[in-house]
Amino acid sequence: MSKVILIVDDEPMIHDLLEIHLQKAETPFEIHHALTGEEAIEKYEMLINENKKPDLVIMDLNLSGRDEMEVIEAHMEGLTGKIDGVRATQKILKMDPKARIWGYTAWFDTKWSERLKEYADKVIERTVPFHEFAKMVDAFFKQ
C-alpha cells in the first residue's frame, strides 16, 4: 500500500525536488501537490472524499507566492485574504483533527514558525537537505 502525501508549498521547484527524493524512498508514496493554502484545503477534502486521506501533509509557512517582504508579512498576518501555512494547518485540523502535518519551511525561528509549532506535529528547517527530509519521512512510515 503506498502512502498518500500532500505537499503544500508556493514554490514549484520545492515540489519537484521533494517528489524526486520521496520517490527514492523504500516506502511507496502517492504524492499530491498544492501551491496555495486554499488549494491544500480543497485537495485534502477531495482526497478524503476519494478515500485517499493523506497520511502526511508537508506544509510551508509562506504561501503567498510572492517575495516582497511587506506582502509576505501581510500574508502571514492574514491581511491579504490568502490563507497562509498556519491557517491552512488549522483548517485541515478542523476538518480532520487526526491529520498529520509537518512544517518544512525557510521561515523557521520566526513567530510564525512558533505559531505553526502549536498545531503541526513538527517543524523542520528548510536547511535540512531534501534527501535527509525524505529519509525522515520514510523512517516515520516505517515505525
Binding site: E11, M13, I14, L17, I20, H21, D67, M69, I72, E73, A106, W107, F108, D109, T110, E125, R126, T127, P129, F130, H131
Partner: protein, 1030 residues
C-alpha cells in the same frame, strides 16, 4: 421762324466774332508789353554789361573776343575796337596761355571738367602783368562769357601779409617766451612760443588741448595778481607788467613775468588781451641773491657802530652812515656833497689837504689807521680813530674812512693812569707785603713793607730771585708755589715759614697770576702778612676749644645753649636729631623748634626759670624736625653764664624710640583686643577658679552675658550638653595627669535658651609657672554639622537613585522606586511624578506616594499642557522653572481642593520640572504638612529632580536602543529567510545532478555545493543569532 433762327444764328456769330476780335486785341497788347519788357531788359543788360565794374568778355567758339566791356578795356589797356576780333590769348601772359587754351577746348567740346573759376595773369598792352580772377559760364552757341576781376592789389597785400605773418610766426614760434591772446571770456585765441620749456606741458599732455590750463597753472595766492593785471588791461591800459608764479608739470614752481596789452577790434573796443610770458625764475633768484647781499652789506654799514664815510677824489662826502651821523652830529643831508674837511678842527685841514693831494699823485694803495681829532657839529673837538682805505673803480678813487669815537677810550686811559698812581700810593703805604714777579720768578716790584719786614733795601729785592734772598730750602718751596701760579694760572694761598733775621716767622701769602690782554700769564702778584703772633694765640685757643668740642660733639645727647630766647649753640648730635644744619638753628628763636603741642608748656617753663622760679629741670617734650617729623625728647635744663649773661644749657635726649615702643605696645594691645572682641569665634580664658575672660562672641554663642559667666557661681559644666559631660571630664582628667590630649575636638553645649549647639574647641595652656590658665576658642559648627549631615543624606540618596536607575528597566519602574525614597529619606509626606508626553502635549502620572485615595483621585491624573491650565505642574513644565507655594490652602487656583488640603493639613507645594539638555521630561511634585517645613529640603529635592530627569533620559535612551536593536535583528531575520528557499532549491538540484554523474565528474559540482553550503551557514547564523558570520 426760319428767319428768326437765322437772325439768331447771325447774332450769335457776330457775338462770337466780337469776342475773337477783343481777344486778338488783348493778345496784341500783351505782345507789345512783352516786347517792351524785353527791350527794357535788353537795355538793362547792355548797361550792366557795359558799365559793370567787372571786366566782361564774350568769346566765340574759335577763341576770338566778340564782345568786351569798358572795364576789360581798362584792365588790358587796349581800346574796345582793338580788342574785338582778337584771340583771347592775346591778353593772357605767356605762362598761362596753354592752360587756358586747354580749358577753352574742354569747354567747347564738353569733354573734361574745366574749372569755372580760377586765377591767371593778364598781359596788358603796356606789357605789365596783372593778377586776374576769372569766372566763366558757357552761353548757347558754344560761346563763353567770362567775368574778370583785377586782384593784383589783393595778391600783393596777401603776399605782404604772408611775409609779415611768417616773420611774426618765426619770431613767436622760436621765442623762449609764451605769446598768447585771450578774449574777454578768457578763452585762448592764440598761443605759441616755448610752452613746453616754461610749463613742462606739451599739447599732448592736455587731453582737451587746453593750453590755458598749462599756462595759468597758478598757485592760489597768485590768482589775485593775474586778476588785477587783467583788470587794468580791460580798462585799456597798455604794456601792463606783472609777475606771478606758475606750477610746472613736474610740480616745480617757476616765476614768470607777463607783459599784457589790450587787443582792439575795428571799432577800437578792447575785445581781448595779448600777453607775453617769460620765465624769470633765474633772474628772480639772482635778484634775490643780490637783494640779500645788498641787505647784508647795508645792514652791516647801517648798524655799524663805527661811522663810515665815503669820499670822492675831490674830497667830497658821497656816503655817510647813521653811526657817522651820531659821531659827528650831522644828518646825511647836511654832509653829502660837502668837503670832508668840515669834520676836522682847524689844525688838521691843511694837513689833510696835503696828504690827500700826495696820495692822489702817488696813487698807491691806502690802508692806514690814524688817531686824530674830529670836529662835531656843535663845535666840540674830540679824539677819533680813523681807518682809511681806498679803491679804484672806473679809474676813479673812492675813499672810505671808518671813524671811531675814542673819547671814552681816552677818558678810560686817563682814569687808568690816575688809578695806577693811586694804587702805587697804596702799594707803598700798605702794611702788608706786596710784590710782583716776572715769569722767571724774579721780583719786579716790591713795596716798602717788604723792605721793612725783611730788612733789605728795595734794590736788593727788585731784580732778585728768592734764592738770592731766602735760605735754600725756603726759596725752593717758594719757587714751587710760584711755578703753580705761573704755569697753571692758579691763585695760591698758603702759609710760609720764612727766616727773618734768624727767626722763623709765619707768613700768610696769596699769589695771584698776572695776565696780559690776551689772558696769558706774564707774572704774578703776591701779598704776604706776618701772622706769627696771631698763629700762636690761635693755637692756644684751639687746644682748649678742642677739648670741650670733643666732649660736646661726641655726646650722645643733644646739647644747646639758649640765650635771650635764641639758640646760640647746638652740637652736631642735636642738629642730626632734628635734621638741621647749623645755619638753620643758630640765632633762631628756640620756640621755632618746639612742636606746637608742647610749645605753651615749654615757654611757660622757660619764662618761670628765667624769672628765677624753681622749675623741674628734667621733663619730656616734643621737638619739631626739619622734615616736619616729631622727636620725643627729654630736656635737662640748667642755667649758665654765657657771653656775659644768663643762658639755658639744655641737654636733649632723644626718647623717640622709647616713645615709639610704648606706642607700638599700646597699638598692639588695642589691635589684639580688637581682634578678640570682634572675632566670630568664642574666646575664653579659664582657670580652676572659673572664667576669667570671655569675648562677645562667647556671650552670643552661649546666650549668657559676660557678667553672668564671670561670676563665681557660674560653672563651665553649666554649658556642656549632659551627654558630653563624661567625655569632657575624661579629657580634663587626662590633661591634669599631663597626658597629651588633642588640642581640637568637638562637643555639644546648651545655650541659655536651651538650644543645642555643636562646637569645636581649640585650647592652649597660657598659664605661667605651673598655674593652670587655659585659653580656648570655640567655634559654632552646628551649621557645618547640619551641612555635613545633609551631604551624607544627599550622597545616600544619590546612591539609592543610582541603584534605582541601574535597576530599573522602564521609566515607570524607575519613578516608582525613586518616589518611595523621596518620601522616606527626604521626609516629605506626598510626592508625585508626571512624565511629559511631548507629542500629546500632556503630563501623564507615572508614580505617586503618600496621597490618600480621595486626594490621589483628584490630583494624580493626566493634565493637558497649555497656557490656559492653572496647575502648578503644567506651569513648571512650560516655564522649565520650579514653582513653590507656601500655603496651598490659601492659593487661589488650587483652592477647590481646599477641603481635602485642610483635611490632610497640606501646606507647602513644591513643583520641580525634570529637565535634561533643556528638554522637559516630566515634573516632580512634593507637598508637606504644616508640621514638616520644606525650606531646608528644597535643595535636596532639586538635586533629586535632576537625578530623576537624568535617569529618565537614560532609560529612554536605553529603550530607544533596545527597540532599534530589535528592529535590526528582525530585519536581518526576515531578509535571511529569503535566502533559505533558493539555497535549498539550488542544493537539491545540485545533489540530483551529482547523483546522475559518474564519480570523477562530480568534483566541480562538489565545489559549487560547498560554496552554497557556506552561504547557507551564514544565513542560518543570521536567522538564529542575528549575526552575520560564517
Amino acid at each position: 421762324m426760319k428767319e428768326k433762327s437765322l437772325e439768331r444764328k447771325i447774332k450769335k456769330l457776330e457775338e462770337e466774332n466780337m469776342g475773337l476780335k477783343r481777344k486778338l486785341e488783348e493778345d496784341r497788347l500783351a505782345m507789345l508789353n512783352i516786347i517792351e519788357d524785353l527791350r527794357e531788359s535788353e537795355e538793362r543788360y547792355k548797361k550792366l554789361f557795359e558799365q559793370s565794374p567787372i571786366a566782361i568778355t564774350v568769346i566765340e567758339e574759335d577763341g576770338t573776343v566778340s564782345m568786351a566791356n569798358e572795364n576789360f578795356a581798362k584792365l588790358t589797356g587796349y581800346s574796345l575796337d582793338e580788342m574785338i576780333g582778337q584771340h583771347f590769348t592775346k591778353f593772357v601772359a605767356e605762362e598761362d596761355r596753354e592752360r587756358m587754351m586747354k580749358y577753352h577746348e574742354q569747354r567747347i567740346t564738353g569733354k573734361g571738367k574745366p574749372p569755372t573759376r580760377y586765377e591767371y595773369k593778364c598781359l596788358r598792352k603796356d606789357g605789365e602783368m596783372r593778377d586776374v580772377e576769372l569766372s566763366i559760364i558757357k552761353l548757347p552757341g558754344n560761346r563763353t562769357l567770362s567775368c574778370k576781376i583785377d586782384i593784383t592789389e589783393r595778391k600783393k597785400m596777401e603776399e605782404e601779409l604772408r611775409k609779415s605773418e611768417e616773420k611774426y610766426r618765426l619770431v613767436t614760434e622760436n621765442s623762449q617766451d609764451i605769446i598768447y591772446a585771450i578774449d574777454k571770456n578768457y578763452e585762448l585765441l592764440f598761443v605759441t612760443g616755448d610752452i613746453e620749456g616754461i610749463t613742462g606741458y606739451t599739447l599732448k599732455d592736455l587731453p582737451d588741448g587746453d593750453l590755458k590750463k598749462a599756462i595759468f597753472a597758478v598757485p592760489p595766492e597768485d590768482i589775485k595778481v593775474i586778476g588785477e593785471l587783467s583788470e587794468r588791461v580791460w580798462k585799456g591800459e597798455k604794456n601792463v607788467k606783472g609777475e606771478f608764479r606758475i606750477i610746472r608739470k613736474d610740480g616745480k614752481v617757476r616765476w614768470v613775468e607777463v607783459s599784457l596789452s589790450p587787443l582792439y577790434d575795428e571799432k577800437g573796443k578792447v575785445y581781448g588781451n595779448q600777453g607775453i610770458l617769460r620765465d624769470i625764475t633765474e633772474r628772480k633768484k639772482l635778484e634775490e641773491e643780490l637783494r640779500k647781499s645788498e641787505e647784508k652789506y647795508r645792514t652791516l654799514v647801517e648798524t655799524s657802530s663805527d661811522g663810515i664815510i665815503s669820499i670822492d677824489e675831490e674830497g667830497k662826502i658821497i656816503f655817510w652812515n647813521k653811526a657817522a651821523g651820531e659821531i659827528f652830529g650831522y644828518s646825511q643831508k647836511e654832509v653829502i656833497g660837502k668837503p670832508v674837511t668840515m669834520l676836522m678842527p682847524r689844525g688838521y685841514k691843511e694837513k689833510h689837504k696835503k696828504a690827500f693831494k700826495e696820495f692822489l699823485e702817488r696813487a698807491e694803495k691806502l690802508k692806514r689807521t690814524l688817531e686824530v681829532e674830529g670836529l662835531r657839529k656843535n663845535g666840540e673837538i674830540f679824539p677819533v680813530e680813523f681807518s682809511f682805505s681806498a679803491y679804484k673803480s672806473d679809474h676813479v678813487f673812492t675813499f672810505i674812512a671808518i671813524a671811531r669815537d675814542i673819547t671814552e677810550r681816552k677818558k678810560m686811559e686817563e682814569k687808568i693812569r690816575e688809578s695806577e698812581e693811586h694804587l702805587r700810593g697804596i702799594f707803598n703805604a700798605s702794611e702788608e707785603i706786596i710784590f710782583t714777579k716776572n715769569l722767571e720768578s724774579r721780583y719786579t716790584h716790591a713795596n716798602a713793607a717788604f723792605s721793612r719786614i725783611f730788612k733789605r733795601p728795595l734794590e736788593e729785592i727788585v731784580g732778585k730771585t728768592d734764592e738770592e734772598i731766602f735760605p735754600r730750602e725756603e726759596a725752593k718751596m717758594l719757587r714751587e708755589i710760584d711755578l703753580e701760579v705761573l704755569e697753571k694760572g692758579k691763585i695760591e694761598k698758603h702759609e710760609d715759614i720764612l727766616t727773618v733775621a734768624g727767626e722763623k716767622r709765619i707768613f700768610q701769602t696769596t699769589k695771584v697770576p698776572l695776565r696780559n690782554e690776551e689772558g696769558k700769564v706774564v707774572g704774578l702778584c703776591g701779598f704776604a702778612k706776618d701772622i706769627t703772633e696771631r698763629k700762636k694765640m690761635e693755637e692756644a685757643l684751639k687746644e682748649s676749644e678742642e677739648k670741650y668740642r670733643t666732649f660736646v660733639e661726641n655726646a650722645n645727647d643733644g646739647i644747646c645753649i639758649i640765650k635771650d630766647g635764641a639758640v646760640k649753640f647746638a652740637n652736631s648730635r642735636l642738629l642730626q636729631m632734628g635734621g638741621y644744619s647749623e645755619e638753620d638753628v643758630i640765632n633762631q628763636p628756640f620756640s621755632k623748634f618746639i612742636a606746637e603741642e608742647s610749645l605753651d608748656e615749654v615757654m611757660e617753663r622757660y619764662r618761670r626759670r628765667m624769672a628765677g622760679e624753681k622749675v623741674e629741670s628734667i621733663y619730656e617734650t616734643m621737638l619739631k624736625r626739619k622734615d616736619g617729623g616729631i622727636i620725643f625728647a627729654e630736656f635737662n635744663v640748667s642755667i649758665i653764664d654765657y657771653e656775659g649773661g644768663k643762658a639755658e644749657l639744655v641737654i636733649v635726649r632723644d626718647i623717640t624710640e622709647r616713645k615709639k615702643m610704648e606706642e607700638a605696645l599700646k597699638e598692639s594691645e588695642e589691635k589684639f583686643r580688637g581682634l578678640v572682641e570682634n572675632a566670630h569665634d568664642a574666646i575664653y580664658i579659664i582657670t580652676p577658679e572659673g572664667f576669667q575672660y570671655v569675648n562677645p562672641a562667647f556671650e552670643e554663642l552661649t546666650g549668657y552675658s559676660s557678667k553672668e559667666i564671670l561670676s563665681k557661681e557660674f560653672s563651665f559644666w553649666n554649658l556642656i550638653h549632659p551627654d558630653d559631660i563624661k567625655f569632657i571630664e575624661q579629657r580634663e582628667k587626662a590633661r591634669i595627669k599631663g597626658k597629651e590630649i588633642p588640642s581640637r575636638y568637638e562637643f555639644r553645649i546648651i545655650s541659655k535658651d536651651g538650644k543645642v549647639k555643636t562646637v569645636e574647641v581649640a585650647t592652649v595652656d597660657i598659664g605661667k609657672r605651673g598655674e593652670v590658665r587655659i585659653m580656648g576658642i570655640l567655634r559654632d559648627v552646628t551649621e557645618r554639622k547640619k551641612a555635613e549631615e545633609e551631604i551624607e543624606k544627599l550622597s545616600e540618596l544619590h546612591y539609592i537613585i543610582g541603584m534605582s536607575i541601574n535597576g530599573s528597566k522602564t521609566i515607570k519602574e524607575l519613578c516608582s522606586n525613586l518616589i518611595k525614597n523621596v518620601k522616606e529619606i527626604i521626609g516629605v509626606e506626598y510626592a508625585n511624578i508626571f512624565v511629559y508626553n511631548r507629542s500629546k502635549k500632556s503630563l501623564e502620572p507615572i508614580a505617586h506616594v503618600g496621597y490618600p485615595k480621595e486626594l490621589a483621585k483628584r490630583i494624580v491624573k493626566r493634565y493637558e499642557v497649555n497656557e490656559e491650565q492653572p496647575w502648578e505642574a503644567v506651569k513648571a513644565c512650560l516655564t522649565k522653572k520650579e514653582k513653590y507655594i507656601k500655603d496651598v490652602q490659601i492659593y487661589k487656583p488650587l483652592s477647590f481642593h481646599w477641603d481635602l488640603y485642610k483635611k490632610y493639613d497640606i501646606r507647602e507645594l513644591y513643583t520641580i520640572p525634570l529637565v535634561i539638555k533643556g528638554k522637559v521630561e516630566g515634573v516632580l511634585q512634593v507637598s508637606t504638612t504644616s508640621k514638616n517645613p520644606l525650606a531646608e529640603k528644597k535643595r535636596l529635592l532639586k538635586s533629586i529632580a535632576e537625578e530623576i530627569a537624568a535617569g529618565m533620559a537614560k532609560i529612554k535612551a536605553e529603550e530607544e536602543m533596545m527597540r532599534a536593536l530589535k528592529q535590526e535583528r528582525e530585519f536581518k531575520l526576515k531578509t535571511a529567510h529569503y535566502f533559505l528557499n533558493p539555497i535549498a532549491i539550488a542544493k537539491g538540484y545540485l545533489d540530483l545532478a551529482m547523483e546522475e554523474l559518474p564519480e570523477e565528474k562530480r568534483k566541480k559540482l562538489e565545489s559549487a555545493k560547498y560554496a552554497i553550503g557556506r552561504v547557507e551557514k551564514v544565513v542560518k547564523n543570521v536567522t538564529q543569532r542575528g549575526e552575520i558570520r560564517e
